[in-house]
């Protein structure tokens, strides 16, 4: 079976389960919303400060939410040992990782799409003129977050204290994504909006490097 078809099957299964329970989507949405509201109340930023610091706060909130949301990715497969069933199937092990990674990216992106207007309202920012470029930055940042998060979720799934271990491992690795995404987003909300291609290239490179590493070493992540 081709990698694309196996990945599609895993992705469809993940989405079906999530749409049925809505556990990850709803909790992640509420978490990010709470963080953004709390940041907004705590800092009470002026218009200039909101343009400068708002994007950083948004990405920080997404980063924290991602580290919580990505935790159950492989833990859920342990309840009935379904990961063993997936590993026994005649598919490439990378398909399991890629399917889950794609599902996580979809969840995060959905949450971001719902939260963007709320974020714009809270921080008094106009997103419509830069929507296309903003979505590109969000897509690249989300892929980086989902890729590293899914890989480290697999790494920590069998560890004790995994709930603590994942953020501890993940946050330093994701620092470049946080910086790149925040800086690119800041440019979009400046007086003269612009998309800094340096950060776009940086984020693209990050995504490609981590996806390639996951493809090369993915099968070892599941070994017992």
């Amino acid at each position: 079976m081709s990698l694309a078809r196996a990945t599609g099957l895993i992705l469809a299964k993940e989405l079906r389960i999530e749409l049925r329970s809505r556990a990850l989507l709803s909790t992640t949405f509420v978490f990010v919303l709470l963080v953004l509201v709390l940041f907004s109340f705590t800092f009470d930023p002026t218009a200039t400060e909101a343009r400068r610091f708002g994007p950083g706060l948004l990405w920080l909130a997404l980063l924290f939410a991602g580290s919580l949301m990505l935790q159950p990715t492989f833990v859920r497969e342990q309840a009935n040992d379904t990961l063993s069933a997936l590993r026994m199937a005649p598919i490439e092990p990378f398909a399991v990782l890629l399917g889950k990674l794609a599902a996580n990216a979809v969840y995060l992106f959905l949450v971001e799409l719902i939260l963007l207007p709320i974020f714009a309202g809270l921080y008094n920012l106009s997103i419509l003129p830069v929507l296309g470029r903003l979505l590109l930055v969000m897509f690249l940042g989300t892929v980086g977050l989902a890729t590293t998060g899914t890989v480290f979720s697999a790494v920590t799934a069998q560890a004790r204290l995994r709930e603590l271990l994942l953020p501890v491992l993940l946050l330093p690795i994701l620092a470049p994504v946080l910086i790149g995404s925040s800086e690119a987003t800041v440019g979009l909300f400046s007086d003269q909006p612009y998309l800094d291609t340096t950060w776009v290239v940086f984020l693209t490179a990050f995504d490609v490097v981590f996806l390639t590493a996951a493809w090369l070493f993915g099968e070892y992540l599941f070994e017992e």
């Binding site: 196996a6 299964k13 040992d81 063993s84 590993r87 199937a89 005649p90 070994e223």
Partner: protein, 240 residues
Amino acid sequence: MTPVHPQPSAGFSVQFEKIEKRFGMRLALRGVTLEIGPGEFVALVGANGSGKTTLLRIAALLMRPSGGKIKISGEGADILPAIRARCGMVSHATLLYDELTAQENLRFFARLYDLKQVEEVCAAALERAGLANRARDLVRTFSRGMRQRLSLARAMMTEPRLLLLDEPATGLDPEGQAWLGREAARLHKEGCTILMSTHGRNEVQSAVTRAVRLEAGLVAADSRDGTEMREILARSGPEA
């Protein structure tokens, strides 16, 4: 009902050559050498911690041995996907998704195994498991026995040539055990090789053709002789 698939041909052979498995400082398997011929129904017995599950997970290619070699149907470490596709497993964990219906579970795995006529295969599997009327119910609403029946249906759907049963009767009532025993016997009759770990005596053991006892990660007894085999099974523990 007309069978969707033709009857399976000969089962796979399994060769464990001096298999060792280490977990940290603990040696779970200490050089197990065991040759299982095509079509044998082997009961693997032994106390908790004797290495039964570890050996089964190595046979399922879920675990790499720390030492030694495993061959399935003569194939070594790089087991061909075609061989992997014909190895099934049922364990005390169901290997099913609770948030999917019985039908969705079977459909998902049928597609993953690239089976033809997916809908027909799933319907036949549900019928055989006696769960056709619960096809659209979520697995989390099923009793333990129903889950285990569905788990076996999932494993059998791919017409395995090697079926690995890891304490499949755990938590099943006598009726469930009898059903499992009948299905295992039927598969064995069709030529499938079956390797089953079991802790206590149960109905599923009635069709076994060979008993192997593991003790502290080593083969302590191995027999195909009726009387001797029954002795090994009798010493495997209380009734499950």
